[in-house]
């Protein structure tokens, strides 16, 4: 089985995000970047499938600046076999990301594409679904468990949905997007990091993929959210309940 895994470079989820005063984006000086946590989970899942089934190949793909090499190396150090970096400057819209990966799918012919359910920078939660439609494939989004049928012609995906857990059966090849409970990603080991240096990391300029990069969604400005002020400290439970009753009038 060949598995393509999408991995995005994003700011560390624990970092404090500040909006630039000119409204053009966020302050990136001294910001630490990591593999999008959901993509890390996708990579881990691909590695587990490979370990279980044997003979699988795990290929990483990222679309972004040259610096996204770092995140691909992290994935290679976790155990992925090789990586492809589609070089693009600046903001690449989700639709263009999906189109770029569509082209790579045509070149690589994977049996499965694993991705994160959401990139924690743009919080769009759309790329996997868009890609599935472009390819005419099935999708199992927000996955918390994946089970393959004996003949590997399909997979049953447990999905975290409103009100509970849903199981769907998807024919392979398919797109599966990872939710938080799918697994706990491993850390790269030191030997893993050494090995990763020698693994193939191919770069392709986005222009070479021949995709439509016309603007579909234009960003006019980025602003800070309305600030919320800290209120009062209360000393006792009784005081809290009284204030909620008489002042805030919510109970």
């Amino acid at each position: 089985m060949k598995i393509l895994v999408a991995a995005k470079r994003v700011p560390d989820p624990n970092a404090t995000i500040k909006v630039r005063p000119d409204g053009t984006g966020i302050v990136t000086d001294n910001l630490k970047f990591v593999v999008n946590p959901f993509c890390e989970i996708a990579i881990e899942e691909a590695l587990r499938i490979k370990e279980k089934q044997g003979g699988a190949e795990v290929v990483l793909v990222s679309i972004g600046d040259k610096v996204a090499q770092e995140q691909l190396r992290t994935g290679l150090a976790m155990g992925a076999d090789r990586a492809i970096l589609v070089l693009a400057e600046g903001n690449v819209e989700p639709i263009a990301v999906a189109r770029a990966i569509e082209k790579l799918v045509a070149q690589e012919n994977p049996d499965l594409v694993l991705m994160g359910k959401q990139a924690i920078d743009d919080d769009s939660n759309v790329v996997g679904q868009m890609l599935a439609e472009m390819l005419g494939w099935g999708q199992g989004t927000f996955a918390s468990e994946i089970k393959f049928a004996g003949d590997k012609g399909s997979a049953v995906v447990t999905r975290e949905v409103d009100g509970g857990l849903e199981d769907v059966e998807v024919k392979l090849p398919a797109i599966i997007t990872a939710d938080l409970r799918l697994n706990e990603p491993r850390y790269a080991s030191l030997p893993g990091i050494m090995k990763a240096r020698k693994k193939e990391l191919k770069e392709i300029p986005i222009a070479d993929l021949g995709i439509d990069q016309g603007v579909q969604v234009k960003t006019h400005k980025i602003s800070p959210p309305p600030a919320r002020q800290a209120g009062k400290r209360v000393e006792t439970v009784q005081q809290l309940v009284d204030l909620l009753h008489t002042e805030a009038k919510v109970i």
């Binding site: 909006v19 759309v126 409103d162 998807v170 938080l180 603007v215 960003t219 209360v234």
Partner: protein, 321 residues
């Protein structure tokens, strides 16, 4: 002038607030573009649902029946909804940013060649929209530049449509190429609860890692939840540890809630959690660590051991009644 088609989702043949909020936003978008607002219900045996929807001030309700739509699946629904939008000349498709809307609408956007904006929280008069990014730390003002547009709306950010008038219901034969379907519904393991839905409740009480285990959610937190008639939520840490089911997670990557009153118990207030609740009207935090970041967004903060404070609070609330 663009006509709007609102995807009215239903679960087990009942509408949740999601459908009516999508309608509310859809009507705003239609008014802005000078077009008409229609609604679509997809499924089997949906006559009564369509009739109900017709009371909410739309121009027309399209009832789309097909055996392949019996259970929600992304590919069949995407085919049917996009075919309907094309057939009825609706250039704007709107739905809730719920688990169904998130799963479905990007596929519809691709089928229609439409630009997609997800999880929007504001519709501005100049045609731009606002959507939170970076866990709500940066609000992006955007516009969709393509003639066709697909939009999912954050359910807490818009008012549900009010009942007005009685629209016509038109039955439409679904256009579905069944040979192309790759997804089959297998089963739904529902989290059973008699409490109000998390995204619809006026009061939400959420527990975090501070509760220590699932048993304490039951014996310590739930009595307060029920005394307040509240919905129960949780932090990711509590869900990951298996204290409570997945669908109670509030946050950037869980549910977004904005009740009148949100009570965070034993929750530190990580930005990912704040992203899901900081638009609540009144926020209360109960935490034994006075430095916990949750206090920075709380209207009322109580530094206390939750195991003492929560049962006391239950008693005090009961006395009010």
């Amino acid at each position: 002038m663009s006509n709007v088609l609102v995807f009215a989702e239903h679960q087990h043949k009942t509408f949740s607030k999601n459908a009516l909020v999508a309608l509310g936003a859809g009507k705003t978008l239609a008014a802005q573009s000078g077009g008409e607002c229609h609604a679509a219900v997809l499924g089997t045996g949906i006559g009564a649902l369509a009739t109900e929807l017709a009371k909410y001030g739309v121009k027309k309700v399209f009832a789309v029946e097909h055996a392949a739509l019996e259970h929600y699946t992304a590919d069949a629904h995407a085919q049917a909804l996009s075919a309907l939008a094309e057939e009825k000349g609706c250039d704007i498709v709107v739905g809730a940013a719920s688990s169904i809307g998130k799963d479905l609408l990007p596929r519809v956007a691709v089928r229609l060649g439409a630009g997609m904006a997800s999880d929007i929280t504001e519709i501005n008069g100049d045609g731009t929209m606002v959507r939170p990014t970076y866990a709500g730390n940066a609000m992006a003002t955007i516009s969709i530049e393509t003639p066709r547009k697909v939009i999912s709306v954050r359910v807490t950010a818009f008012e549900p449509a009010a009942a007005e008038g009685q629209a016509e219901v038109e039955n439409v034969a679904a256009k579905i190429d069944e040979g192309a379907l790759k997804i089959k519904f297998v089963g739904f393991n529902e989290t059973k609860s008699d409490r109000p839905a998390l995204t619809e409740a006026k009061v939400v009480v959420s527990g975090g890692r501070g509760l220590k285990n699932g048993e304490n959610f039951k014996t310590v937190l739930e009595p307060l939840v029920d005394t307040l008639g509240a919905a129960m939520g949780a932090s990711r840490a509590a869900v990951d540890a298996g204290f409570v089911p997945n669908d109670l997670q509030v946050g950037q990557t869980g549910k977004v809630v904005a009740p009148e009153l949100y009570i965070a118990v034993g929750i530190s207030g990580a930005i990912q959690h704040l992203a899901g609740m900081k638009d609540s009207k009144v926020i209360v935090a109960i935490n034994k660590d006075e430095e916990a970041p949750i206090f920075q967004v709380s209207d009322y903060g109580l530094v206390a051991d939750l195991f003492k404070a929560v049962p006391e609070m239950k008693e005090a609330v009961e006395k009010l009644k």
